[in-house]
């Protein structure tokens, strides 16, 4: 909420602080943040950098592009492809459904208690990822899952006869949606709150209908937030290991599981190819997060 104004030069607090004690203390001021930067360097930046470097080295430490080249092996390419597809599908579904849910709770004219309930629940569900989530979906949509059984018994629909399995693309996407939708609700709520009642009223008094309001005003204003949030959701799904691994074991060929197996020494036995796999992941999540940050700053610029 306050993030929009902090970087502006006219913020009196920040400019004052820089000039006032600037000379006397500045030489020691950085000591206060030294622990943080040391920590970040040791446990975040260096570990990542060393992988990035390793991706361009052979087993003897010489520069090579061979590892990157091996990423284009059909097996690895298809892993990236499935990963991207699952992430994109869960990000798209998550952002559309999450958006609609948030809109319904905030602007749908529903009773007051709906909104805080949805928010609390979203906080829980967006963190309910990983191994327990895969258990929950196995109990629901697995071969012996409640929904599977109910459908077979009462609706005479053989879910698994249609080719569905929880270990498939669709099953994984449905599972990911369980934390993607609530995450979307949490990220997009501030943007929806930012829609002012007066905009709708101004639109109405100028002769615009509800459709005009959504098409010409609300959606264009929300658009960067929606797209940006979808990119964040994409990165969120792309890096997820635990849910997929616990759900499918190694049977689904997606990048995080490939990498997990590689680190455990189950398959590839090629350290440097592992580094290249990691580099590929960082590049993809990094790009989508960069998109998120760019779009968020655009969304905030328009707000006063």
């Amino acid at each position: 909420m306050a993030t929009s104004s902090e970087s502006l030069p006219q913020d009196p607090a920040s400019s004052r602080g820089q000039t006032r004690k600037g000379l006397t203390l500045s030489s020691f001021n950085w000591l206060g943040v030294l622990p943080f930067f040391l920590f970040a360097l040791m446990f975040l930046i260096l570990p990542t950098l060393t992988l990035m470097v390793g991706a361009f080295q052979d087993a003897n430490g010489h520069f090579t592009l061979a590892n990157i080249g091996k990423l284009f092996d059909s097996n690895i390419l298809s892993a990236y492809q499935i990963s991207i597809e699952v992430s994109a599908a869960s990000a798209l579904g998550g952002s559309v459904i999450g958006m609609l849910l948030a809109l319904a709770a905030i602007q749908g004219g529903l009773p007051q208690w709906i909104r805080p309930t949805l928010m609390t629940f979203s906080g829980v569900a967006s963190n309910f990822a990983g191994v327990p989530l895969s258990f929950a979906f196995l109990s629901t949509l697995g071969r012996m899952g409640l929904v599977t059984v109910l459908l077979r018994t009462y609706a005479d629909i053989d879910l698994y006869g249609t080719g569905f399995t929880i270990l498939s693309f669709l099953g994984l996407t449905l599972t990911y949606l369980y934390f993607q939708i609530p995450l979307m609700v949490l990220i997009v709520t501030p943007a929806i709150d930012g829609l002012r009642a007066e905009w709708r009223e101004a639109c109405e008094s100028l002769g615009g209908s509800g459709f005009h309001y959504w098409w010409h005003i609300a959606l264009p204003i929300l658009w960067p937030s929606i797209l940006g949030s979808a990119l964040l959701l994409f990165a969120n799904a792309f890096g997820a290991v635990a849910t997929a691994y616990a759900l499918t074991g190694s049977s689904l060929n997606i990048v995080p599981i490939l990498l997990y197996a590689q680190i455990r020494g189950d398959v590839l036995h090629d350290q440097n190819l592992g580094y290249a796999l990691a580099l590929g992941m960082v590049v993809i999540t990094g790009l989508s997060n960069a998109g998120y940050i760019w779009l968020r700053s655009r969304a905030e610029r328009g707000r006063e």
């Binding site: 002012r196 905009w199 009223e201 109405e204 008094s205 010409h216 264009p220 707000r303 006063e304």
Partner: protein
């Protein structure tokens, strides 16, 4: 026949009565102000005229049309909001053109009308700026232009100046009044600032707790307050309760006696004027062109304004004086 008539308007939110029996009729081209403290119901009345709130009971008529339950889109009433409510995703031109587009005017007509109104509110050169690139005063002029360009039957202004700083506020209020006169536009202006109300309005409705306390021409409301509330809200009236009025002035009244500080004359202690009161200066405040004295007489403190002519005129605390108050300047209020 009146242009806009409001009859027996009531508005209740749950158990809370916000507007109680509001009646009003105004002529075409009048500039009306609803004046009152926050929460007095003035904005609610305005929003019912605009169609954003539905009255609990009562009727709103424009010309011969009953608009009480008409949707805001069909009322032809323009609104300017305190927070501007400019669409942040559109530049100045698109914001102003929005209402014309809703009316499906040809693009040639739209650009002509937009250009005209941009000239009217003196925003030439800002056509392609976005709201966040404009100052507060400029934003409010865009909002004004956006409301004006569709040629509304009535223009509603909901505290349009209160988010602006003092200098811009003065400037813009003259500009608004000027445009309103030129277009002959029926206008209702809501404010809590009595100076704004006095300088801009033809007529003022002073409101308090959902009711109209007093209505009348600007100068009447100021010089002849009808109630204690209006006297307190409009100026710095001295208000004497019945007991004090009897003690000081020897008058028997029911409610309060209101006396404006500038109508009390200060005389030398030696002056031999019939009916003058013995009094002592207690302290003073410099208010620029006037000096406001706290003067005590028989244990009652009165505020007295004098013009600040020269520094040597200033009377120090403890000075004995006489006060003369003409009966014509006293006003009995409920």
């Amino acid at each position: 026949m009146a242009f806009l008539t409001i009859a027996n308007l009531h508005k209740r939110f749950d158990d809370h009565v916000v507007v109680h029996d509001f009646n009003m009729s105004i002529e075409q081209g009048e500039f009306i102000t609803f004046l009152g403290p926050s929460g007095c119901g003035k904005t609610t009345v305005l929003r019912m005229i605009a169609g954003f709130e539905t009255p609990t009971s009562g009727a709103i008529t424009v010309g011969k049309d009953d608009i009480t339950h008409l949707s805001p889109q069909k009322r032809g009433i323009g609104m300017v909001f305190q927070s501007y409510a400019l669409f942040p995703n559109m530049n100045v031109t698109d914001n102003i053109a929005f209402g014309l587009k809703m009316r499906k005017l040809s693009s040639a007509d739209i650009s002509r009308k937009v250009a005209e109104v941009i000239k009217l509110v003196e925003l030439k050169g800002k056509e392609n700026h976005y709201p966040h690139e404009l100052s507060g005063g400029q934003r409010q002029r865009v909002a004004l232009a956006r409301a004006l360009v569709v040629e509304p039957r009535i223009l509603l202004l909901d505290e349009p100046l209160s988010a602006l700083d003092a200098r811009i506020r003065k400037n813009l209020r003259e500009q608004i009044r000027d445009i309103q006169r030129r277009l002959g536009l029926t206008t209702i202006f809501v404010t809590h600032d009595q100076e704004e109300a006095l300088t801009m309005s033809d007529r003022i409705f002073v409101m308090n707790q959902g009711r109209v306390e007093q209505e009348g021409r600007a100068e009447m409301v100021y010089t002849q307050p009808a109630t204690e509330f209006v006297a307190r809200f409009m100026g710095n009236y001295n208000l004497l309760g019945a007991a004090d009025a009897h003690k000081l002035l020897g008058l028997d009244i029911q409610g309060h006696m209101a006396i404006r500080p500038e109508s009390i004359h200060v005389l030398d202690a030696s002056a031999n004027q019939e009916g003058a009161l013995d009094a002592t200066i207690r302290q003073h405040q410099l208010l620029g062109s006037i000096i406001r004295y706290q003067v005590e007489s028989q244990g009652i403190t009165l505020q007295v304004d004098r013009l600040n002519r020269t520094a040597s005129d200033l009377m120090p605390a403890g000075t004995a004086v006489k006060l003369q108050i003409s009966r014509d300047d006293m006003r009995e209020v409920r």
